[in-house]
């Protein structure tokens, strides 16, 4: 893996930044790679557009900004409208399928992977863990970071007392991601 550029987009309050931070932490601290994180959010904390740019590489990263992501992780329709066209041709779009409707405007060869992450989070007990379900989904679909590293990164990032639910959310997304990716390989 030379360098993979990832953008995570959604609304404030969905845990977009934390999702990016966990992916970066898993890659850099627990998988021994290099990673950078750039975060952007609107003036209001909740409900405004929000995104995180994560770069993961085997080498030192000289330029941390993501212009044309290899992987897009999207949790809102606005984020899709804004970032969908920037996906690299042949790149992968991972999206919350109950919040994002995918159209034909994606670059050529784009691979799309949907997950009902909000519903999964609610079934687990807290809508709040939507971002962790998405982080697990990212891991299962892309394999860019190891599941062990993600587990450690989640445990190290979430408040005490919430670890178990967050781990269940991670595994839910991870298993769903692996099954969706396996279906794609089988097609």
């Amino acid at each position: 893996m030379a360098k993979t550029e990832i953008r995570i987009g959604g609304l404030g309050g969905q845990g977009v930044i934390l999702c990016g931070m966990i992916i970066g932490k898993a890659a850099a601290i627990y998988d021994g790679k290099h990673a950078t994180l750039i975060q952007a959010f609107g003036p209001e904390a909740r409900g405004s557009a929000c995104s995180a740019q994560v770069t993961v590489a085997d080498q030192v990263i000289g330029y941390p900004y993501v212009k044309q992501p290899d992987v897009l992780v999207l949790m809102s329709q606005d984020a899709y409208a804004q970032f969908g066209p920037t996906l690299k041709p042949g790149g992968r779009l991972l999206y919350e399928e109950e919040l994002v409707k995918v159209d034909q405007k994606l670059p050529a060869g784009a691979l799309t992977f949907g997950i009902p992450a909000t519903r999964f989070a609610e079934e687990l007990g807290r809508r709040l863990v939507l971002n962790i379900v998405m982080a697990g989904f990212f891991t299962g679909v892309t394999g860019l970071v190891s599941s062990e590293a993600m587990e450690k990164a989640v445990k190290a990032s979430v408040p005490k007392g919430t670890e178990d639910l967050n781990m269940r959310a991670l595994h839910k997304g991870l298993e769903y991601g692996r099954s969706v990716a396996a279906q794609l390989v089988g097609r």
């Binding site: 609304l11 404030g12 309050g13 969905q14 845990g15 977009v16 930044i17 934390l18 931070m21 975060q39 959010f41 904390a45 909740r46 929000c50 687990l124 007990g125 807290r126 709040l128 863990v129 971002n131 990032s157 979430v158 408040p159 005490k160 007392g161 919430t162 178990d164 639910l165 967050n166």
Partner: protein, 198 residues
């Protein structure tokens, strides 16, 4: 709902080793045997008539509908304690769980109620409960001590709400453990504002 980490074991203060596991369909006879062994004086503090088969069937159905999460402690295959967290699935108190614990006299004052209650408080928090309540009669001193250790505080008193086996009326205390602060920390973390990210 499948609970992870069970069956587990617990060693009481006197060295007795017990198995802790979730209640499942087929446990009705063992549960009825446990409660029928319990002195009537103790059963008086329970909300239901736990000696009837209809209660046992209703109880199992509630567990299967995820309205209750119940653990039993077993010694040599015999139930010696049962602890349940009741969780309404809808309505204005769906965020509140109610804890009920019953321990056989032979296994009291050994830390078993504390162990079971602690497990259920953790499971409740883990499943997203904001608040857990428990009802204790004013003279159940060791129960009050147990729940205080687990972070419960007195929230309400229902005067003369309980009539004991001798006809004396006693106050019923409602204790609560507000665990929402744990989730408030998580909410702050996913707020996606600059000051929240570390």
């Amino acid at each position: 709902m499948r609970l992870e980490g069970f069956p587990s074991s617990v060693t009481l203060r006197d060295g007795t080793a017990l198995t802790i596991r979730p209640v499942k369909r087929g446990d009705q006879p063992a549960l009825l045997a446990f409660y029928r062994e319990m002195p009537q004086e103790d059963r008086l503090f329970l909300k239901d008539d736990v000696t009837t088969e209809s209660w046992a069937d209703r109880f199992i159905r509630r567990i299967e509908r995820n309205e209750a999460l119940s653990l039993v402690a077993e010694k040599d295959g015999q139930i010696v304690a049962e602890a349940t967290l009741y969780r309404p699935q809808h309505g204005w108190s769906a965020h509140v769980g109610e804890l009920r614990v019953a321990v056989a006299r032979s296994h009291r004052r050994k830390g078993l109620a504390t162990a079971l209650s602690g497990m259920l408080v953790k499971l409740a928090t883990d499943q997203g409960a904001d608040k857990i309540i428990v009802e204790v009669v004013e003279n159940q001193v060791s129960a009050l001590r147990t729940f205080a250790k687990l972070g419960f505080q007195q929230e309400a008193v229902l005067r003369g709400h309980v009539r004991d086996i001798r006809g004396a009326r006693r106050d019923l205390l409602v204790l609560s453990n507000d665990v929402s602060h744990i989730w408030a920390a998580m909410e702050a973390l996913v707020a996606d504002s600059s000051q929240e990210v570390h």
